[in-house]
Subunit: 350 residues, 2 copies
């Protein structure tokens, strides 16, 4: 019917994967393969190939960052946030991970017919509060409505523009042997907050999502003169996916210690009940920072002085070996390779 | 469960509209009310309040345009295009309507679990061809997968960044009494191409969508020194919505003549069968241009010299009256008010 000349064969073997699976969106190996083997080669350009959280380009002598994310979290409201605040924090954080100061967001709503109007209003109000507290403006938008049964309440896309106001290249290729690996707090709360609601788990206290804008933390690090090499927020696939992505992009071995990685007891307990690995669970207000050893203590002090970095700590370092792998030293002192999950541990977590 | 302080009441009266309707995404009065009464006041800022196709802001002495659109067209493939090419053309055109040269796009995919992998590949390939021919790069992206039955094959969001390389303010507020109103070709083909497929209508020849990137046409107008006052692409709600939007934003009366508005016979016939008004049907490669009368003939000559403007013509003018309304003079010479449709004429056309 239509003049298609898609002469090239589908780069994902149809025999193995005739259909898109939930796991193709899960932050693990299948998603990385879909992106790396289909999207990146198809849209081939240097900026996309950098495969960082944001794309950084120069315009009129000014470096800008540009990023996009769609938010399909289920349920729409969860302890500590909702799809609206998440859609602001997630995109603000992707800009911050390139070392950019977030300025402007777009908001694209795909609403399922029948969504209660006051649910939409609660979410829009929440987006606005999140934007105001992150210091960004939502300056353009789009509204689509799809038939009942062809969506799931509400999906929100936010794209963002930020400005890079320093001369560092904050990206996986800047990671160097000897770099310290830091995180800004305990891991896995966002994912477990959502799973607890979905699975109806009851704990003594409610696990609240860590969803928050971390751009303020990044600007504090920059202001303190920390030579940041790389930043990456610990979203889909959790710490495990992030470390593997950076290790692969930098072609370096990373080594982390299990006893140094902060996970709250209630999160650990919920993970055990559900058979999940907390190192693979998404956060939405946590990131890993790669900084030179000489700046590590100062960076930790800066992070710890900020309310969103109170639990900051050092979890490992970048090794000399030029092979892409992640080593985890367990509490027992045994070292093993920390491999990326192949599939979908937690569907629709963001 | 969650610390919401949405103390302000929902600005859309819940009594009248307890739920979001398909019509809230249809480009007519209900959508404008949702945007104007909920989104714009909630996200209040000057850039959003301009309510143009893109938001234009200045950074480091350079004016930039930023826009977003989600594409939920059904079916995914239609004569003359698919959701992928549409997602590129639509966002490129929104940038062009602010007089910006489109540079970079983002691509956010929301895939329904079970989408055939080669369908995704066909669409991705089509996006790439459309981007290449429009001279833009897709530099950042996101992939989400939702459970089977919670989406509809594929939704794509594209956001775009462009650069404004002239000193004009191309926006509704620049429209002046006496301006000529031009269009770059016949109307309604995109919407009717899709409706013909959906309704199984058969004609002697297939109606093909007019989906195309019009940024080249805009740059030709600028190069020729045409003092463009306003541009608006004729998407959801068609010419009728666009004229009403501009009239309202400029607080001026617009007058157009039915006999001057180009609609192909097959499109007119399909509209008659389905009981649709071709002036309310979406195009995806057509726009209205408001230019000073002294530049009108030159603008028409520039448009007509371009393959995508071969059918360019003048359809009316801006009147002296400072009241927001659109007058349509019929073939019989009778003048009536051309009012915006309230609801959803053509759901999920883009």
């Amino acid at each position: 019917m239509q003049p298609l000349d898609f002469s090239a064969a589908c780069p994902i073997p149809i025999r193995d994967y005739p259909h898109v699976l939930l796991a193709h969106g899960g932050g693990g190996k299948l998603m990385h393969r879909l992106i790396g083997e289909m999207f990146v080669p198809a849209f081939r350009n240097d900026l996309l190939e950098a495969q960082h959280d944001s794309s950084v380009f120069e315009l009129a002598g000014q470096r800008l960052a540009f990023t996009t994310d769609s938010y399909v979290v289920r349920p729409l409201f969860f302890p500590g946030g909702d799809v609206g605040s998440l859609a602001v924090h997630g995109t603000v954080n992707d800009l911050a991970m390139s070392g950019a100061r977030p300025l402007y967001l777009s908001a694209g709503f795909i609403i399922e017919e029948g969504l209660p109007m006051d649910t939409l209003w609660r979410i829009v109000s929440s987006m606005q509060r999140a934007a105001a507290s992150a210091g960004v403006q939502i300056i353009t938008g789009d509204t689509k409505v799809v038939d009942k049964g062809k969506g799931d309440g509400l999906f929100i896309n936010t794209s963002g523009i930020g400005v890079v106001e320093h001369s560092l290249t904050i990206a996986p290729r800047s990671v160097r042997p000897g770099d310290a690996i830091l995180v800004n707090g305990d891991l896995g709360r966002h994912g477990m907050a959502i799973m607890a609601v979905r699975e109806g788990l009851e704990f003594e206290s409610t696990i609240e999502s860590d969803s928050a804008p971390v751009s303020g933390l990044v600007s504090e690090l920059l202001r303190a003169g920390v030579e940041i090499h790389c930043l990456r927020d610990l979203t889909r696939g959790g710490l495990t996916s992030v470390l593997n992505e950076i290790s692969e992009a930098a072609s370096l071995t990373l080594s982390v210690e299990e006893t140094l990685i902060p996970v709250r007891e209630d999160v650990r307990g919920a993970c055990e009940i559900l058979g999940l690995d907390p190192l693979q669970v998404a956060c939405e207000g946590r990131f890993a920072a790669f900084v030179p050893e000489r700046d590590a203590d100062r960076a930790l002090a800066v992070l710890a002085a900020h309310p969103l970095g109170a639990g900051a700590c050092r979890i490992g370092k970048v090794m000399e070996q030029a092979s892409a792998r992640v080593l985890l030293k367990s509490a027992m002192g045994v070292q093993r390779i920390l491999d990326m999950a192949s599939g979908e541990q937690l569907p629709r977590i963001c």
